[in-house]
């Protein structure tokens, strides 16, 4: 039943898209939702600008609301007024959106084949975590520290976050449970493989919050990934979590005295979802853009602007040097063997199911 529905939707979509291509009825405006900062800039440089060059009549507007994508899409669907065309979200959020019928199921045959001839679906492989998800990058959430504020003993373990004696000062953490709770349990002695089982229980959640309690007064909570680099640059914090690409930009491009940890970093995917129920002409434009923006070369190009690994297997060999600085990018990728000795793979399906619960608990914990 599910299958027939998917097939029907797909065929309708193909017909619709085909007709749209033939008539040239593609919308000329497109609103893309992303994360802002260095990451959005990499998207702009790697494929939005080239796409606009090839399609000068298209007008792209950015909305930096990815952090609130699930909530906003729910609100849009509730009020029946969808103003977004393409949304960049994390893997777990794509699952939630898919579960809730807020994102469209994707036909991967409509995307470009890998340059080695493999189908898009094979090329993306495991990074397709839900039927609505078009992966772009592999990234990790990790910790950056102010190298001139940690003395001669720069932190080597993620648990430095909880070590306020060795590393006094404020630390910046994301204002949501994801990553914080995992690290809290890990540093409270829970084995890495058991963490999600423990977190599914009430006691486990309390344990995580109890651990976070020990540093609650020392934390500045961020909501935008750009805040940690800013706070580090200002010397406001001694360390803080953020995405590895943001830290790379601050270190390599902005030349800040910042170091970063490659320990128990949370490996995750990021990619596109298309809102459900887009009008045909807008959908046609989105698919046209996606065909271009998620091909092998474009994903590899993105890695020249930010240190995130491309989600296509076929893109990996094409990753070269930084576009401006000329340094090799591969060693800065979260997927590089040297960096992935002790990675922590985020369990998206756990977060898809538990996000509502834990968000509510986390917010209540914060407010008290």
């Amino acid at each position: 039943m599910k299958l027939t529905k998917v097939l029907m939707a797909t065929s309708a979509l193909t017909v619709g898209a085909g007709a749209a291509f033939a008539d040239g009825h593609m919308a000329s405006d497109m609103t893309i939702v992303s994360w802002g900062g260095a990451y959005q800039n990499s998207q702009l440089k790697a494929y939005v600008e080239p796409y606009l060059e090839a399609n000068p009549d298209v007008n792209i507007v950015w909305d930096e609301s990815s952090a609130e994508a699930v909530a906003k899409l729910r609100a849009m669907s509730e009020t029946g007024n969808i103003t977004w065309d393409l949304v960049d979200v994390e893997a777990a959020d794509s699952m939630r959106l898919c579960d809730e019928g807020l994102a469209m199921e994707v036909d991967y045959d409509q995307l470009a084949e890998g340059n080695d001839g493999s189908s898009a679906e094979d090329d993306f492989g495991d990074s397709i975590v839900s039927d609505c998800f078009i992966p772009q990058i592999v990234f990790s959430t990790t910790v950056g520290y102010r190298s001139d504020m940690v003395g001669d003993t720069p932190p080597e373990s993620i648990c430095a976050i909880f070590d306020t004696e060795m590393y006094p000062g404020k630390r910046a953490l994301n204002k949501r449970p994801l990553a914080n709770m995992e690290w809290a349990l890990l540093c409270d002695g829970v084995a890495k493989d058991d963490i999600y089982d423990v977190m599914a229980t009430e006691e486990g959640q309390e344990q995580a919050f109890a651990k976070l309690d020990t540093i609650k007064d020392d934390v500045i909570w961020w909501t935008a990934a750009a805040e940690t680099p800013q706070l580090l640059a200002d010397g406001e914090i001694v360390m803080g979590s953020t995405y590895n690409g943001r830290l790379f930009s601050a270190i390599a491009e902005q030349d800040q005295p910042i170091g970063m940890l490659w320990d128990a970093q949370m490996l995750d995917f990021d990619g596109w979802v298309i809102p459900e129920d887009l009008p045909e002409d807008r959908l046609a434009r989105v698919m046209d853009f996606l065909y271009f923006a998620t091909d092998t070369q474009r994903l590899a190009d993105q890695a020249a602007y930010i240190s995130y690994g491309p989600a296509r297997a076929s893109s990996a060999p094409l990753v070269g040097k930084h576009a401006e600085l000329g340094i090799e990018m591969a060693p800065h990728m979260p997927t590089d063997p040297a960096n992935s000795k002790n990675v922590f793979v985020t369990q998206y399906d756990f977060w898809a199911d538990y996000r509502d619960d834990l968000d509510a608990k986390f917010q209540a914990w914060l407010a008290n």
């Binding site: 802002g36 900062g37 009020t79 007024n81 103003t83 977004w84 750009a226 800013q230 200002d234 902005q254």
Partner: protein, 297 residues
């Protein structure tokens, strides 16, 4: 405020410390503005005074954020939208507001107090409540009809240009009402009577007699309404969409999502505009006093 020559030492000490305190408070008032301007010339991409800047080394300064403001398509779109939204919203608040203020200034208006309270309420109701209310209502606007229910209108305003314009017009109205009624209080009613006696119709009387005299109030109300729309961020975040984002939207994003000093450049430009507008208001005020034959002071 001058100190009399016979003032005692205590009075002198008291007087000068009072002036110092006032000076400090004035400094408190403008310090944030003073800090913005040099930082907008920062050569770095962070919100921080760099050592180069503190040494007044020219290398620490640059115009790159201004350059970004004027070339970045997002900022340009925001600027364009702000300029498209604010004047139209102002026009609506001023035209409806002035008429209503004139109506309110007549004697024997039934329920005057309640009407006034309703018209001023957009200034009083917390913005977050107005914004969320508008967000839901504008998505599926309807007309409530007693004993029938809701008559849904076949369009949506959330995310649309007109949604933002209407919302901003509503927020600007209290300012127009306040400033125009203030000028009408000093308005000599015998002038309209004289005009009527000399055979002018009400419309003619309005444009030839009343309008010129309340003009300063109308203009200053218009400026307030304009700045309200131009500076409003909460309602725009809810009712607007990325396509019709305004300058404050872009600045809010700039502060929250991608901390770029371009917002400081934008701010400096806005401050300059504010100063010019303020001077205009001050000149208008002087003109109004001359017109009404009041001496300044």
């Amino acid at each position: 405020m001058a100190l009399p020559i016979y003032a005692s030492t205590t009075q002198r000490v008291w007087h000068y410390s009072y002036l110092t305190i006032c000076g400090l408070i004035f400094f408190f008032l403008i310090a944030p503005i003073l800090v913005i301007i040099p930082l907008s010339f920062n050569a770095q991409n962070f919100f921080t005074f760099t050592p180069e800047m503190l040494r007044f080394d020219p290398a620490g300064y640059s115009l790159k954020h201004y350059n970004d403001f004027f070339t970045n398509s997002d900022w340009q779109l925001a600027m364009k939208n702000s300029l498209k939204i604010a004047p139209v919203a102002t026009l609506i608040s001023v035209s409806l507001g002035t008429l209503a203020a004139i109506g309110l200034s007549q004697s024997h208006v039934p329920g005057r107090r309640a009407i006034m309270a309703t018209l001023i309420s957009p200034m009083i109701v917390p913005l977050i409540i107005s914004a969320t209310g508008m967000y839901f209502f504008y998505s599926n606007p309807y007309i409530p009809i007693p004993f029938y229910g809701k008559l849904y209108l076949p369009f949506t305003l959330t995310g649309e240009y007109w949604g933002v314009v209407l919302a901003h017009a509503a927020l600007g109205i209290p300012f127009v009402i306040i400033t125009v009624t203030a000028t009408l209080v000093g308005f000599d009613k015998s002038l309209t009577r004289a005009s009527a006696m000399m055979g002018a119709g009400p419309v003619r009387t309005f444009f030839r007699v009343q309008m010129p005299l309340i003009m300063p109030g109308v203009i200053s109300g218009a400026l307030f309404a304009f700045i309200t729309s131009f500076d409003e961020v909460v309602v725009v975040l809810f009712v607007g969409s990325a396509q019709n984002k305004t300058l404050p939207w872009q600045m809010f994003i700039g502060l929250r999502e991608q901390i770029s000093p371009t917002i400081l450049a934008a701010a400096t430009i806005l401050i300059t505009v504010s100063v010019i507008l303020l001077l205009v208001v001050e000149l208008l005020r002087r003109r109004s006093e001359r017109l009404r034959g009041m001496s300044p002071g």
